[in-house]
């Protein structure tokens, strides 16, 4: 159940919320949509779920066009909208039944799916409660249960963990991981760790355009310019800047050295090295030959967070 988006544009007045984006989601893949608020994630999802039509471009779900075969597409999709709207005056069972009926489920099949969703989403204790009485975490589970009640092949989740506390986030994430294993999933988020925790692939959108597309690892690698080493050396030298600094600087592949201060005879440095090089061995040998004691030597990889900041710098990003 693949999704193909081609040259998608959505215009509100003169502003382009989505500006000519194209991407594919392969069957069984969990795709993370990453971007600052207002980048066009939600708009794209609303178009894919047939809530509103695009200004131009096409979206195909399993080969079906969202404009011409909207009804069939909606059948295949389970959708959790942003902010998870729910009917607060219905209880959990009633609500799930309603959603199941709208998907054409009846009698035995309906009861069976209803039970399964209650089980899978851990709603057993609250199934007779009005949704209005539930905590945010439970409501989010109800939202997920609703999205999956008809066992859709495609799941589209708009910020499924927003507003939850850290424990609930982990729970919902695990739930998505578990349920998403057999489905094609698009989930949007502005939380970076979420993407690393749940997604097979990431698309970063900024101001309506795709600025990066790849697996979390790929993105991290391609944006690693120089590598950074954090080093702490214990050496009884009189003057760090003249006795120690030049010796480190003279090592091969070291581009720049930042002196980060001393504590007694322990001195901290931050070494930026050439891309693809590894000077840890050499640094060790140098220390031995100079009689320094290496207190710390650690490599700092570029995090996805840094990638994100680099790509979307003009916007303020909410911290995770």
């Amino acid at each position: 159940m693949a999704i193909a988006v081609r040259n998608l544009v959505k215009q509100y007045g003169r502003e382009k919320a989505v500006n000519d984006i194209s991407f594919d989601v392969r069957t069984g893949e969990i795709l993370g949509f990453l971007g600052p608020n207002g980048a066009g994630k939600t708009t794209t999802m609303k178009i894919v779920t047939c809530y509103m039509p695009q200004s131009s471009g096409t979206v195909e779900v399993d080969g079906l066009d969202t404009r011409t075969s909207s009804h069939e597409v909606r059948r295949k999709i389970g959708y959790l909208p942003e902010l998870n709207p729910l009917y607060l005056d219905m209880n959990v069972l009633e609500y799930l039944e309603y959603c199941a009926r709208l998907h054409g489920l009846r009698s035995d099949r309906l009861r069976q799916r209803q039970r399964e969703m209650i089980d899978v989403c851990g709603l057993g204790d609250v199934r007779h409660k009005d949704i209005g009485e539930l905590s945010k975490g439970y409501r989010q589970r109800v939202g997920l249960a609703q999205a999956m009640i008809h066992d859709p092949e495609v799941l589209i989740l708009d910020e499924p963990t927003s507003g939850l506390d850290p424990n609930q986030i982990v729970e919902i994430r695990n739930l998505i991981r578990r349920l998403g294993s057999a489905k094609t999933v698009i989930l949007s988020t502005h939380i970076l760790s979420e993407v690393q925790a749940t997604c097979d692939r990431v698309i970063i959108i900024h101001e309506g355009s795709i600025v990066a597309n790849g697996t979390p690892d790929e993105l991290q690698k391609s944006f690693q310019g120089s590598e950074t080493l954090s080093v702490e050396i214990k050496a009884p030298v009189a003057n760090v800047m003249t006795d120690l600094f030049p010796k480190i600087q003279s090592l091969q592949n070291v581009e720049t050295v930042d002196f980060r201060g001393s504590e007694g005879s322990a001195h901290r440095f931050l070494l930026h090295t050439a891309k693809g090089s590894d000077i840890r061995e050499e640094l060790f040998r140098k220390s031995v030959s100079e009689g320094w004691i290496l207190l710390e030597l650690s490599r700092k990889a570029t995090s996805l967070e840094e990638v994100f900041h680099k790509l979307t710098r003009s916007e303020t990003v909410q911290p995770s």
Partner: protein
């Protein structure tokens, strides 16, 4: 052939049922249904009683005449939340991304609100039974009156639903609903102020004119056609506004 077509229709409109049940249930889960039924019974009962004991005539005419005033403000109160609330809370997005046609949504909600009015009318049959035990009652005006009331209520519900579709604020939907419904109600009462060429048109468009026709006990197809065509037009307009999210 016939059965085939029916089968197709049933499938095409299979979501009307769930939406209808959900809306009706939500009326009865909240206070709305009970308030509507009690207000209806209280108002009509008072006028019914006064009719029996003061005027000493065995007829439901007074009751029907009161009912048409009660409908004016009670129906917008029933319909105001139907679509406005879904828009406000965002559940409209949930609903319209399910494999549901817009007309199924509109028809399901319309039928639910209309049924509630019918439920509120149902207990008034008690009045009919008591009146008919007091004296000889002419059944024509009773049947015509109930039918006219139901049809007029249908028109008002469709107008109220339309008002609810163009805003996400329930108060606005309520006020706009009353405004439009009263507008239709008074059309045949302001004929004095209307240019002579338009008099018959205004009279024809007024709901009350047709209701009073039917309440006299004459069930004329023209009145029924009038009610159904206004009702259909309003439902169609509601569907258009609901579909407008798709510019």
């Amino acid at each position: 052939m016939m059965i085939n077509t029916l089968q197709k229709l049933r499938l095409r409109f299979q979501n009307v049922g769930p939406i209808y049940v959900k809306e009706l249930r939500s009326y009865f889960n909240s206070a709305v249904a009970y308030v509507v039924i009690i207000v209806f019974l209280a108002f009509l009962g008072w006028f019914y009683a006064s009719n029996i004991f003061l005027i000493n005539i065995a007829s439901l005419r007074e009751m029907f005449e009161t009912a048409r005033w009660v409908l004016l403000f009670i129906i917008p109160a029933i319909t105001m939340r139907l679509l406005a609330e879904e828009k406000k809370s965002g559940t409209i997005e949930l609903l319209t991304t399910k494999p549901v046609h817009d007309d199924e949504i509109v028809i399901g909600k319309f039928l639910a609100a209309w049924s509630l009015v019918a439920f509120a009318l149902l207990p008034t049959l008690v009045y009919y039974v008591t009146v008919s035990s007091f004296g000889d009652i002419d059944n024509g005006p009773v049947i015509g009156g109930y039918l006219g009331l139901l049809l007029m209520a249908g028109v008002y519900v469709s107008i109220g639903l339309f008002a609810s579709s163009i805003t996400e604020n329930q108060i606005v939907a309520f006020i706009l609903g009353i405004f439009l419904i009263v507008g239709f109600f008074v059309l045949d009462k302001i004929l004095l102020f209307v240019p002579s060429g338009l008099v018959s048109l205004f009279e024809y468009l007024g709901t009350d004119y047709h209701f009073l026709n039917m309440a006299r006990g004459v069930i004329d197809s023209r009145d029924v056609v009038y009610f159904l065509s206004i009702l259909g037009t309003m439902l169609w307009l509601t569907m258009v506004t609901l579909g407008r999210r798709k510019w």
